[in-house]
Symmetry: C2
């Protein structure tokens, strides 16, 4: 499971992140999202994307969110060897490309928690705090505590994906 | 495009293959085939499988056959890093596991043509002669000529996949 919270953030929040977490890397992530021919992923709250970044190419499926306060959801991810072939494969299987989401992401690490400072093309800056865990309650406590340390109000967490936010514009 | 012919073969055909082509490797291939939730792949003549062999894991889509004499068809293939995750991903996306096809394959090479001597679990021994090419007519001539050199009658080529042959039993 991916346990995650997201907040709209001003630029200066990154200084606070730097003061508590260790910088890992900066990269541009290009995500191409697909909809399903079987059920509308916007309604079923699922997501399917192909991500291209300097580390390689990944296909990721995200299940419906299962927690009212966070973006916690089942995530299945595989690394693949070829972006164009992966796009072609999903298209042949009936999946429909919806939109590209492009962001510059700076990744920080605090123990087993990942903090991302994201500049999303067309949307602005956001902070995502996440960890992989099967112990949801404990993981949620941990990431919400970090959110508070960074000055965020958990009640103002954003449960919508960047894709959904871009679709609303 | 994958241009391919297949024949039922007796064991001794492998000696003939050895006399004209170079041995590449022997391996066990385990293919898990899926059907689509959108259209019945048995009727649309498409195929989707995950292959596991000693070299790794691949997802392959095969389009409908486009030639009356051969198994020529569009093929899209990506290498992935994890078999279980790939199976889980396809299942979550609505694809239904149909059947596993297991074979011991000995691969031979003759210029740009691949000749496979296959012992298919539950079916017996077969020879597949194939090459990747966009020049279908030239590729077809080439592989049918090799088929004749191995003593096969092109009119007796098998257009059904191992999956289809197993489903008929």
């Amino acid at each position: 499971m991916e346990v995650e919270v997201k907040f709209k953030a001003s630029i200066d929040v990154e200084d606070k992140i730097r003061s508590i977490a260790e910088f890992v890397c900066e990269k541009e992530e290009i995500d191409l999202y697909f909809n399903s021919p079987v059920r509308d992923f916007r309604k079923s709250d699922e997501a399917l994307r192909i991500r291209k970044d300097p580390e390689g190419v990944k296909i990721t499926y995200k299940g419906p969110k299962i927690d009212p306060e966070t973006k916690t959801r089942k995530e299945i991810e595989i690394s693949v060897d070829d972006y164009d072939m992966a796009v072609e494969l999903l298209k042949r299987l009936g999946f429909i490309p919806v939109r590209e989401v492009v962001k510059r992401r700076r990744i920080y690490r605090l123990e087993d928690v990942t903090i991302c400072f994201d500049e999303v093309k067309g949307l602005g800056t956001f902070v995502e705090i996440e960890m992989k865990s099967e112990d949801l309650e404990s993981a949620k406590r941990k990431i919400l505590e970090i959110a508070k340390r960074l000055g965020f109000d958990p009640a103002r967490s954003i449960r919508k994906s960047y894709l959904e936010l871009l679709e609303e514009i």
